[in-house]
Amino acid sequence: MKRRTFLQLLGASALSRPLWGAVKHTEQYFIFIHAAGGWDVTLWADPRNERKGLVEPASTDNTDLTALTHWKKVALDSDTDTFEILAPSDVPMTFGPGIGDLYDLRDRLTIVNGLAMNTVSHPDGTCFSATGRHLAGGRAPASSIDVAIANELGVSQLLPDVSIQFPSAYIGDSLDRRAIPLRVPSAATIAKSLARSDAYFNDDDRASITALLTDEAHALAKHSAFPETYERLAAQESALPKLLGNELKAAFTPQALMAAYPQLDYKAKTLGQGALGAAFAVEAMKRNLVRVVSFALGGLDTHNQNYKFHAHTQQELFGTIATMVKLLDDAKLSDRTHILVFSDFCRTPQINLAGGRDHYPNNSALVISPRFKRGRVFGKTDHEQLLPAGDKPLSPPDLLATFLAAFNIDPRRYLRDGDVIKDMLA
């Protein structure tokens, strides 16, 4: 079979499914959040409040306590106070004060500690967490988790994967082109690109233009040695009319999102933009337009005096997530929305000379999904050096493999490494 013919068939089969709506979809939604910069796990998931080995806990020496809702003082030494570890009786979990409002949803959380990162480079840690592979030649060698999910479960949606500053990677030729992530700097810009003026052209004009361009793309595909480029353009062109409706544009302006979801803190000092991403995710899922929304929330790379506000930034981060979960509850979507939150790596257990914490090759991650065992912690670190402990420490590929397996997706299609940890699954 000639390559061209084979590819045409492949393209045809990918497109034989209608673009959205009619196909029975899984009705599951996914939110991936990159907490950019590297978080201090001793402040939320793997709390430490004692000086032991390398560990210097957060204290009044290095942390601004203003507005930290879960910081209850205990003495660290004669001059300094640290925080009391939150140890609720209803779940076998402990938390630090950074957990913020997510503490109220603790019975729905799955935390993974002691993730072996083997890196302390931002881009490499980010890539490892998102794709299960380290960078190769400065580039991601595998697709990211949001693309994998979009490819498997999302191509029937109008917007399979919206990526707002998230480290999405679409790698390889075997993925459905519709799963190429829509990358935008913020949710606000989506509406602007969808806007159209009625002063000159009307919707029928645009429909005619789109039809012509789709036809041209198909015609070019027939003569091309690489028809998939043109088929991809044709598919994307034909999806445009649905996107360009004014209803969508109006729903996704920042003002509309803020009015629809006033519960989110858009004025949060560090993560105000992230609140908009969360609002977009909820609205897009309510309208069944997306399968995956991924976004990044930053401000955690605190190497120096800015570490004073790290706990506060975490509180904002988890507060945004908690509010988003509650909004999904209200929309009756939370039983089929699955959230994964990760960071580049964690921060050193020691405080450095500038009063901050540097990068460290350990990590924690958070899953909020009914397909995972909830109110549980998996993985651990040693007491003195905060390094992954146990006979076989977990690593990001294991978590990603388990996540994919939770949805009956063969992890080997996307991950070279990683074992499914069945014990994590509900």
């Binding site: 390559r3 931002h122 881009p123 109008l158 917007l159 500053q165 679409y170 082109r177 190429i180 992530p181 829509l182 990358r183 935008v184 700097p185 606000a188 810009t189 989506i190 602007k192 690109s193 969808l194 806007a195 159209r196 003026s197 002063a199 000159y200 052209f201 009307n202 029928d204 004009d205 645009r206 005619s208 233009i209 012509l212 361009l213 036809d215 041209e216 793309a217 015609a219 070019l220 091309s224 040695a225 690489f226 480029t229 043109y230 991809r232 353009l233 994307q236 062109e237 999806a239 445009l240 996107l243 360009l244």
Partner: protein, 215 residues
């Protein structure tokens, strides 16, 4: 090995063995040779698109284009579109997007519309002299396919970089059909004449054409 065995036999045996054509060796296993061409079509880098776009707007600076484009809700601000076009952001290590997605096409569509509408206003509506027109540098008469093809060739060269005579044979016809449709739809002058609106539509379709958006 075989040759030396033959020589040995020849040396040992009586008489001469006539040489015969070597038989093909039996295959042991298949080796797949990848002879497919490695070249691919790729998207125009956003910097190239932006530079071309400013040129099509008469060589204006970006903020001047923004000001000219904005009336009647045709344009917001460049910063609303740049990331969707695939531009990298080195400040936050956001890499360049080399593959298209629906939002990118929507953004290119928005930019294409404003370019063509403003060009139609400037070149056709106010009847700018021919030598001062950037886009519609032709007589816009389009009473027939032949008349249309003259102007279409100018636009085809502008946005696709080659004459329409080398395009697929039915391309001019397809675009003339678009022209006719849009012209018929816009009977009244609002704010461009039907012909002007139709030319703007042809322009918008060409500037969003795959051959314009790809390398």
């Amino acid at each position: 090995m075989r040759a030396s065995a033959l020589v040995l036999l020849a040396a040992c045996g009586a008489g001469t063995v006539k040489p015969s054509a070597p038989a093909p060796l039996p295959a042991e296993h298949q080796v797949v040779l990848d002879t497919t061409p490695k070249e691919r079509r790729r998207m125009l880098p956003p910097e190239v698109y932006l530079r071309a776009y400013l040129g099509w707007f008469g060589g204006l600076a970006p903020l001047d284009v923004q000001n000219r484009a904005r009336p009647k809700g045709l344009f917001d601000a460049w910063e609303d579109y740049l990331s969707a076009l695939g531009l990298p952001d080195y400040k936050i290590d956001l890499p360049r997007q080399t593959q298209s997605n629906t939002l990118m096409l929507a953004t290119l569509g928005r930019l294409g519309e404003v370019l063509c509408v403003r060009a139609a206003e400037h070149d056709l509506h106010v009847k700018t002299p021919l030598d001062q027109r950037v886009v519609f540098a032709f007589d816009p008469k389009a009473g027939s396919l032949d008349e249309f093809s003259v102007g279409f060739d100018v636009l085809h060269r502008t946005f696709l970089g080659y004459p329409v005579r080398l395009a697929p044979a039915d391309r001019a016809q397809k675009f003339y059909a678009l022209f006719d449709e849009v012209r018929a739809r816009h009977k009244a002058k609002n704010p461009l004449s039907p012909d002007e609106t139709a030319w703007a539509a042809v322009c918008a379709a060409l500037v969003q054409h795959p051959e314009a958006e790809l390398y």
